[in-house]
């Protein structure tokens, strides 16, 4: 079953290019295109894609606001931020809004496919440099509820960059169980994305920054 992707970008040429580029990948299916944040939100509700590729600077409703709302309403849809500007501020804000990953519009087009696959598999992927900064900038949960032993193990593996399937295999549990654990973890920590949970794990020493498993 292909990964269902929604493209949200206010530049039509970019939407066209992305659709064309992603069409070459049999595992990915572009199910819709949105011109602004509000449309992205509407189409996500309607189409329930696995991953939204979200431009951050968009008219009517910006990408951060749309991301935050999507993550709150449809936790099964992961958001990957895509922008032409690599500013600390926008990286931090994208992650804060609940984006699982952050990509620059550059020539590393294969990264894009990898990021979409990782997001769909529940895999957190952050470069060591970005992680160090994000651990500092993204606020940790104030008073998280204590995690169970099993949840702590899941969080540790998640922070190491393992996908749902990897975690399921490691802990010898079902993949759906892993998803349930992750949902509980996010709820207890009061965060909206796996990335934020992984950053929390790095902060409390459950995982070390910049050691993602390939």
């Amino acid at each position: 079953m292909p990964i269902r992707v929604l493209i949200a970008d206010d530049h039509s040429v970019v939407r066209q290019g992305l659709r064309m580029f992603l069409a070459a990948d049999a595992e990915i299916e572009v199910v819709g295109e949105a011109r602004d944040g509000a449309e992205a939100l509407r189409l996500t509700r309607q189409l329930q894609p696995d991953v939204v590729l979200m431009d951050l600077l968009m008219p009517v409703m910006d990408g951060m606001t749309a991301t935050a709302t999507i993550r709150r309403e449809l936790p099964d849809t992961e958001v990957v931020a895509l922008t032409s500007m690599l500013e600390d501020k926008s990286v931090v804000e994208a992650i804060r809004s609940g984006a699982v990953g952050y990509l620059l519009k550059d020539t590393e087009a294969h990264e894009l496919r990898r990021a979409i696959r990782a997001a769909a598999a529940g895999q957190v992927q952050l470069s060591p440099q970005v992680t160090a900064r994000l651990v500092r900038e993204v606020a940790a949960p104030e008073q998280p509820q204590p995690l169970t032993e099993r949840e702590t193990s899941v969080l540790g593996l998640l922070a190491q960059g393992q996908s749902n399937r990897d975690i399921a295999r490691t802990l010898i549990i079902g993949e759906q169980t892993v998803k349930t654990h992750v949902a509980h973890i996010l709820g207890k920590l009061g965060v909206s994305s796996r990335t934020q949970a992984a950053l929390y794990a790095v902060r409390i020493g459950l995982a070390s920054p910049g050691s993602p498993d390939p």
Binding site: H11, V13, V14, G17, M20, A24, S84, K105, D106, A109
Partner: protein, 444 residues
Amino acid sequence: MTRSRSSLVSALRLLAIIMLAAFAAEALIMLTLRAVMPPLGIWLEALVDSALLVAILLPALYVFMVRPLELQITFRRSTEERLASLFETVMDAIIAMGEDGRIFLFNQGAQKIFGYSAQEVSGRPFTLLMPSRSVEAHHQRLRDFARAPETAWRMDERSEVFGRRKDGSEFPAEASVSKFTLSGHLIFTVILHDITTRKQAEETLRRTHEELEQRVQERTLTVREQAQHLAALEERQRLARELHDSLSQALYGIALGTHTAREFLDADRGKVVEALDYVLALADAGLTEMRALIFDLRPESLELEGLVKALTKQVGAARARYDLETGMELCDEPDVPLEAKEAVYRIAQEALNNTVKHASARRVSLRLCHGDESVVLEVSDDGVGFDPQTLRPGHLGLSSMRERAARLGGHLEIHSAPGSGTRVRAEFPLRRPASPEALESATA
């Protein structure tokens, strides 16, 4: 003259009254003596007569002549005393001198102002009290004044007068001179007032004013520099935004298209061609964008290529960049100063930008036309529109568009409502009546 004549008349009248009274009294006495008294003989009669006459006339004489004189003298004496005390207590210097310029009166005020005692200056020339540089002029003016018909002369009327104190220091003064003749001698009286304090106050005031003026100028300069800096900053931000919107997206698209073409290279020729067409279209759009941006970056572009061409490029860039349908209705190049062209251009740019960013429009059209009186620019779209009433000030760059229009004596209208598109209309008079002041106030 009149006064002495009237006193003579009153004296004669008084004498007549007295003589008449004496005559009447004498007649009364004579008649009474003859009627009531036996003849007394000529000598005795004369004695009684004279005694009675004196007894009657003396009180009359006292009442009518002596008493008024007494009062007059007392009054004069007190007036003199009062004048003398005024002369001594007044703060001003009062100095009297003869025709030879030698001082003979020097009041308390003068002593205080000049630092000399009355004895020290008595009999010495008045020029002692002035800086040596003014002595010559003083002599000349005094000689002229002595001959002149006027009796008073204010010294400070044109030039400043300076006094010199005993210690040699000088001070600014205000003085007036009057003259009168006393028993054939010409007397000059100088009344002089030290105005050092006033001058100092004036000087302080002047300096304060100057400082204030300078501060205002400095502040104005700073504000102007800040405004220029801000304008440059805004321009740079706009260019950054346009680069983001245009070239970086086009280049990203080119990268995506090229990757796609490479992937299909051996598998699907049709897909490769499709990807390459996309890449070429983007390269073309990128070049159009680049030309528009370079045009914006060169201030002389508008002057060299003209407003009509500039607007054509802008609309072309919007079409290439945002996939908008565009319409253009452009007249020939209007004959207006460069600053007016620039204002029109910037307003069009801002309005197009609003359409692209906020209107979600499919179509935008631009119209530029001019008659004999004015130039009219209209930018309209079929987008979502907005309620101009509820728009917060400063949003959409509306105030800067309005300011640009107002600076050239024109005005800007915005017609919009939710759901029915937006039309921005700017009108400028062809001959600008506004003065540089109007420009200043519009900028402020």
